[in-house]
Amino acid sequence: MSELTAKLLKLLGPEAVLTAPSDLATYECDGFTIHKQSPDVVVFPTSAEQVAAVVRLCNQHDVPFLPRGAGTSLAGGCLPVGGGVVIALTRMKRILEVNARDEYAVVEPGVVNVWLTNQVKGQGLHYAPDPSSQGACTLGGNVATNSGGPHTLKYGVTVNHVLGVEMVLPDGSLLTAGGPCGHTAGYDLTGIIVGSEGTFGIVTKIWVRLTTNPQGYRTLLGVFETVDDATNCISGIIAAGIIPAALEMLDQLILGAVEAAFQFGFPLDAGAVLIMEVDGPNAGLDEEAGRIEAIAKQNGAREVRRANTEAERLLLWKCRKQAFGAVGRLAPSYCTQDGVVPRTKLPQMLRKIREIGQRHDLRIANVFHAGDGNLHPIILFDERDAGQVKRVLAASHEILEECLALGGSVTGEHGIGVEKLDFMPKLFSAADLAFMGRLKAAFNPDSRCSPAKLLPTAGACIEPTKAGRKAAL
């Protein structure tokens, strides 16, 4: 390892290499804090050529390596299993090209998601996939997990907005798939690279589609006595053939935290609120908003408020997108899940989550993408209490099992990472997993790139260890 470190220092310079244990501690986990593992080295390349050179050195020394963006993964995607080299892409952060007429941009993987929208909004464009972490997460990370966000119901997920990628393959060679015109002949390599969670290589450049800004928005806040009423309202909206741009739910527990943090004026005694947004040409939007309001009232909404100005609309979204951050007011630690169920099963699923929380004596807050059935139950706990950690893991497991039982998935947008490896055999048969293993081997035959991620490997065993952060002195 020290020989490799010396070569990395020589290749990139000391300003681009971290080796001190106190520096490495930051990189021992990501947003999923239950598992930690220190890397041996963290490097900060600034070009595809440097990334390729790092990969070749790792291969020569038989050391594992993996990419990392902002480390906002909630599934342990950035966990350096087996130590090795973390290749941080945060210094590759240039927006290389913006083409407003042809509606695409070319970016480096370290570009923060919201920077791109900020860059192009003056030209009436935005980058549509807007995960709640968009103020911190990188486009490279979005590609790795096929990130979603609140607007996927109408606008799709990351893969629907990626036209091409340049990627350093695990053997150190460079692959370019797709481009400004998207993919055409042969296999859709871009389509399978997006969502591959860093197991196919290290993405070094991305061609993304830009979306024209809608002419108008109407953003409504429905206030409901119960979560059941709110979920029935969602079903009603979809059944009416309306495709809102976004349909997000927050329950009472999360509302309390968000109200304390942002003072939006959320009613603290409501069982749940629904943010319901439609967008498009102004003509007809008021009517559509009116229809949604009627459906909400039919489903027991106590009141339906409207965001009357752009400022109000942005504040409402800020409250939603920073809800996870507000959770700190409720408990020292949290663990969230990313299950999906068919929309019509939402009421049942939320009742089950309540029951699971009661049985395990845990508080569970809910804020999520209700329109596409993608839940984020936030289990509140204190990670210093090993007993609580065990109950949290058990409750998480039960929640995901129920998602599967209702015909859903264990991950709508966060990825399998390491967290949900043991669910893969429940979602997929041995034949399915073997087929996926062969696909992975075509890209990553030695498994040195992002080992022990996404696909369970025989013998890989990540035991949930004791809770608690290793003290940084």
Binding site: R101, C181, L189, G241, G280, S409, F435, L454
Partner: protein, 378 residues
């Protein structure tokens, strides 16, 4: 060989594989001109009896069907619930959904509605081991595992036999309308720019050229709520009028839209190709291509151009291709006279990403069971 259910198909694949025979999946049999001719003897696996609707929870806006269902039957099933797969697929009474997926077909409304890549959320297929495998699932948000749906879309039956597909679908729009205008070819670029600058968001901008007339037929397609369609119609009309063009509403445009959707398969020209170009270059490319084509159809919103030719030559097609490649695009020949059917003519010189595609094929079908030789992947 015509299985009537997936397990039969599995049996047939295993037997054929054991006997060392290649397997040629077949749906509506409409795209046999695409690609290179078969390289070795084998069996045809006809999927047209796999036509069942497996599950259709309309209120979830998803549907699971067997791959041999025709596009027309699928759309009828969806329409009964006020829903649709908003893609323009050719010859829908014959084309199977599995075939459309394998070929990644799309039409004029790609600009507003995307392609099959944006609708397939789950897929089941028979692999080279004679196992029934699946990717994706039944829900619209799902990132578990590798995206085998994307792998299969456009794979031309070279990685397995698709047996079942789960789609997310959309509600039928409240209103639809089309505006048509005749545009001099010399003015096409500026007219497309005018449309791009308009606040209207058409779901399709189709440009059709027949012969050497010097004029193109422009069709602007709108789908939305009734007020939004009416407003957008006015926006487009006045923008075009300001540019000196009179656009008229087109009544009964469904049949015209289906004609345009049929373009890849219509008229039996000797050459058919499809190019991907940047939207800003559609007009320029269409101008250059029109001299060697009997007919052209462009989807000008995202940038795709279909060409029919009768007197093309490999050199002329290669010249068109190099223009397109220079602008970051590509050109694929979908049909050519038998004597010109080579990889170089159909797809051009080997591209750098072909090596990775060949590795994928070699990993997933090392014996070359499925459509061997059809694509440049092996």
């Amino acid at each position: 060989m015509v299985p009537s259910a997936a397990p039969e198909g599995v049996d047939l694949v295993r037997k054929a594989a054991a006997a060392g025979q290649a397997i040629y999946p077949r749906g509506g049999n409409t795209l046999t001109d695409y690609g290179l001719p078969p390289t070795r003897p084998g069996v045809t696996l006809d999927l047209t009896k796999l036509t069942r609707v497996i599950d259709y929870p309309a209120r979830d806006m998803t549907i699971t069907v067997e791959s041999g269902i025709t596009v027309a039957e699928l759309q009828r099933t969806l329409a009964a619930e006020g829903q649709t797969l908003p893609l323009d697929l050719p010859v829908p009474e014959k084309t199977t959904l599995g075939g459309a997926v394998a070929a990644n077909l799309f039409g004029p409304r790609r600009f507003g509605h995307g392609t099959l890549r944006d609708y397939v959320i789950g897929i089941q297929f028979i692999n080279d081991q004679g196992e029934l495998c699946k990717g994706g699932g039944q829900v619209v948000k799902n990132v578990a595992g590798y995206d085998l749906c994307k792998l299969m879309i456009g794979s031309w039956g070279t990685l397995g036999v698709i047996t079942q597909i789960t789609l997310k679908v959309k509600p039928l729009p409240e209103a639809r309308a089309a505006l048509g205008a005749s545009v001099p070819l010399t003015r096409l670029a500026s007219i497309l720019d005018v449309l791009h600058a308009s606040p209207a968001r058409p779901v399709g901008i189709a440009v059709h050229i027949k012969g050497q007339a010097g004029h193109v037929e422009l069709l602007v397609l709108l789908e939305e709520s009734r007020p939004a369609v009416a407003w957008q119609m006015e926006q487009v009309k006045s923008a075009l009028r300001a540019a000196g063009l009179e656009a008229e509403p087109v009544a009964g445009f469904d049949s015209r839209l289906q004609e345009l959707a049929n373009f890849p398969l219509s008229h039996s020209p000797s050459w058919v190709w499809r190019a991907s170009v940047l939207p800003s270059r559609v007009a320029e490319f269409v101008s250059k291509a029109s001299s060697q084509c009997t007919e052209l159809l462009a989807e000008a919103g995202r940038g795709a151009v279909w060409g029919h030719g009768s007197t093309s030559t490999p050199a002329a097609v290669a010249a068109l291709r190099s223009q397109v490649v220079g602008g970051g695009g590509s050109l694929t020949v979908w049909k050519a006279p038998a004597e010109h059917r080579t990889a170089e003519v159909l797809w051009g010189p080997p591209q750098p990403d072909w090596a990775m595609m060949r590795k994928v094929k070699a990993a997933l079908d090392p014996q070359g069971l499925f459509n061997p030789g059809r694509l440049f992947v092996g």
